[in-house]
Amino acid sequence: MEMLEIRNMHKSFGPTIALNDVSFSAQSGEVLGLIGENGSGKSTATSIYAGMQTCSSGEMFFKGEPWHPVSMNDALKRGVGMIVQENGTVPGISAAENIFLGETQEYVSGLFVNRKKMNRDAQAALDAIGAGHIRAEMMTGMLDFQDRKLLEIARVMAKDPEVLVVDETTTALSQKGRDIIYGIMNTMRKEGKTVIFISHDLDEIMEKCDRLTVLRDGKIIRTFEHEEFEEGAIKAAMIGRELQGSYYRDDYDGEVSSEVVLAAEHLNHTDQLSDFSFELHAGEILGIGGLSHCGMHTLGKVLFGNEKAESGSFTVHGRQIRNEAEAMKEGIGYVAKDRDTESLCLEASIKDNIAIAGLDKIAVHNAFILPSRENSYVDAQIKNLRIKCNDRNQYVSTLSGGNKQKAAFGKWTGRDSSILILDCPTRGVDIGVKQAMYQLMYRMKQEGKSIILISEEMTELIGMSDRLLVMKDGKLQKELFRSRQLSEADVIEYMI
């Protein structure tokens, strides 16, 4: 049975045509993959179907009936749920209140909300998806990115939807979180329901989907049946050309300078870092891997001076770092994992975002901003990083995920940072952009710059790092060196 259908859908955002005559359908008991470069229209099409916004023209059907959801809540109540790419929870309320957001009235008895019952039901929803470690009464703001994502999944699954859209969610999750989503997808398939799965991870999408529809520049390019899945053909369909050169770097000597640019000794920080010591060399890409809660994300913040280690020390070029400004003075740049909250000011323009970290470079006498100087600084980053935009004054909020990430990169490449701390830099980024970022990282290495690559993607860590530190429970578990033989299994062995 045809569960959902989109016919001739068009959508424009000002001058940007996001969807141009898009039509596709999905059957019951099917996992349909949607893949395409950032800004290709995957999220736009599915978010329209899930009630987040409306289309400019076109038709939608759900189980053969015309489909016009007025909101995401309305769509969810009627059987279509969506887990969005970015944060979709409210931080200042409890996990239970997030799960039953907009439905509190169902728990009202007399004048009061029956929180006990709400918490009980919310806990049941969390337990049902395998996220029982999250307590329903906890404040959402206290949860980390992964747990907030699991909370969203619980919220959607509590309504038992017949169509589930998973929009680029897995890259934000550790293996455990991913397994939860994969489990849900399998169950839904078996129950004759439908999943629309959006991901930039080609291996993942080829493994989990029954069919795969490729979008490019707001148009459907091709739908691959499972037996037609072939990496090269899918990539070519996605970007409209063959990818030139290697995806990751193709040297295996792992050669770095002997000069130590950053040295950390016996760092301790809550339960996230425990007696953690390492050195970073000039011209080195140092990978940091582990499970989501292993402390690697905290390490990034500590090294940028954003969080203070309780004991231990670290020096950059021999100098101690106490805050972000000092870190920047020593040439450190930091791209945070939580892009929309920590790396970018969404209501500001591309220009404002890129220039803000480089004002000391742009300003004359470290005070006055000459518009021409600022514009050329920003334009150089837009050009180098190939940020798809109308102009430098476009609001960052209107960019696609990959282009937002490029803008976040632009903050630090612009000021020519000599040490870059990249926390999950390719999360939610398509393969074309990913390749460009890997090439940029490699180019920086060759220029003698150093990169700390914190990532939950093992292929990325293995593919790019000169040296890989595996963390577990805040401790350094293993140091692995670049080699052709290094495999995911070798890394996993020390992660878990």
Binding site: P15, T16, N306, A325, A327, M328, T341, E347, A348, A355
Partner: protein, 318 residues
């Protein structure tokens, strides 16, 4: 294209509104045979103090912060300035004391917030109580009856539209320079837009908050000085309504209520002039002050609604 045009229209709306109000004022003045140059002088006289104080206050609002004690601060600064004149007989000293006192009060609010890690509006609430008490103490200790006054002739030469305009233009020029063409303005807007991202971009929000409050204090101090030149007899009610006038002016001028990247330094001047023009038009229409307040309230809500509409993003979802 449509959205871009809408954004441009909405951002130009405050200025267009002010021009429209200006035209309406001229039309009604001609119909009612009112002395236009005299009325224009009146409008500038009424709005210029608000324009000065509100322009400084833009620095606070840009940060997404709020200062409830502006009026009380201005009153104290004016009282202390007047006392300084009575002791020294020097207008220059009076100006210096007004500005110094206002900056000191602003610094205290922001430093307290910084030291105790409190939202700055909390300390401004505490300052409001403290300053109100200080007004009473100062008047009781130094005043004659319920007022503190200086000889009118001491400042009569300064009580001209030309002088006030000069003070405003100098201060406005400084603010435009620092807000639009210096690091300070960019950093303030970024902190207001996303404090966490600003911190992770190396900005020191506390330091910027202190600087923002100093700029606001400068405006309050100049406002206090101009208040003395306009009305040399000061009481506990001096500058009583300035706090509310500043908020309304800034919002009328098209500044987002939450501050951030879309903050504009021109908002305060445009808003203050628009508000005064509106009051004058309502006076010419013989509307009583109650109805006038209601009209202002309605327009205030409308402006906030429209500005929020402008900020509601129809975003390309990733």
């Amino acid at each position: 294209m449509k959205k871009e045009l809408r954004e441009k229209l909405l951002s130009a709306a405050p200025l267009a509104g002010m021009i429209l109000l200006g035209i309406l004022f001229l039309v009604f003045a001609l119909i009612k045979d009112i002395n236009i140059p005299y009325s224009m002088k009146n409008i500038l006289n009424q709005s210029i103090i608000t324009m000065v104080v509100a322009t400084g206050a833009v620095y606070i609002y840009t940060l997404g912060a709020f200062d409830i004690s502006l009026g009380a601060s201005m009153c104290v600064s004016a009282l202390v300035g007047a006392m300084a004149y009575n002791r020294t007989g020097s207008v220059a000293v009076m100006l210096g004391v007004c500005v110094g006192c206002a900056v000191l009060i602003s610094l205290t609010s922001s430093l307290l917030a910084s030291v105790f890690n409190l939202p700055v509006f909390v300390t401004t609430i505490a300052m409001l109580s403290l300053l109100n008490a200080l007004v009473l103490v100062l008047i009781k200790a130094n005043g004659t009856g319920d007022v503190i006054q200086i000889p009118a002739e001491a400042v009569s030469k300064l009580n001209t539209v030309g002088f006030k305009l000069l003070v405003f233009l100098l201060f406005f020029g400084l603010c435009v320079l620092t807000f639009n063409f210096m690091k300070l303005g960019r950093q303030e807007k970024f902190v207001g837009g996303n404090p966490l991202c600003a911190q992770l971009s190396g900005l020191n929000a506390k330091k910027l908050s202190v600087i923002g409050f100093v700029m606001a204090g400068l405006g309050v101090g100049l406002g206090a000085f101009l208040t003395i030149t306009y009305a040399p007899t000061l009481s506990r009610n001096t500058a009583g309504s300035i706090g509310m006038d500043v908020i309304i002016s800034i919002v009328f001028g098209g500044m987002p209520v939450s501050g951030g990247a879309r903050s504009r330094i021109y908002s305060a001047a445009i808003g203050a002039l628009s508000m005064t023009l509106l009051s004058q038009i309502m006076l010419m229409l013989n509307l009583n002050s109650g109805i006038g307040q209601m009209v202002k309230a309605a327009i205030f809500i409308l402006v906030v609604f429209v500005s929020m509409l402008n900020n509601r993003k129809t975003i390309l979802p990733r």
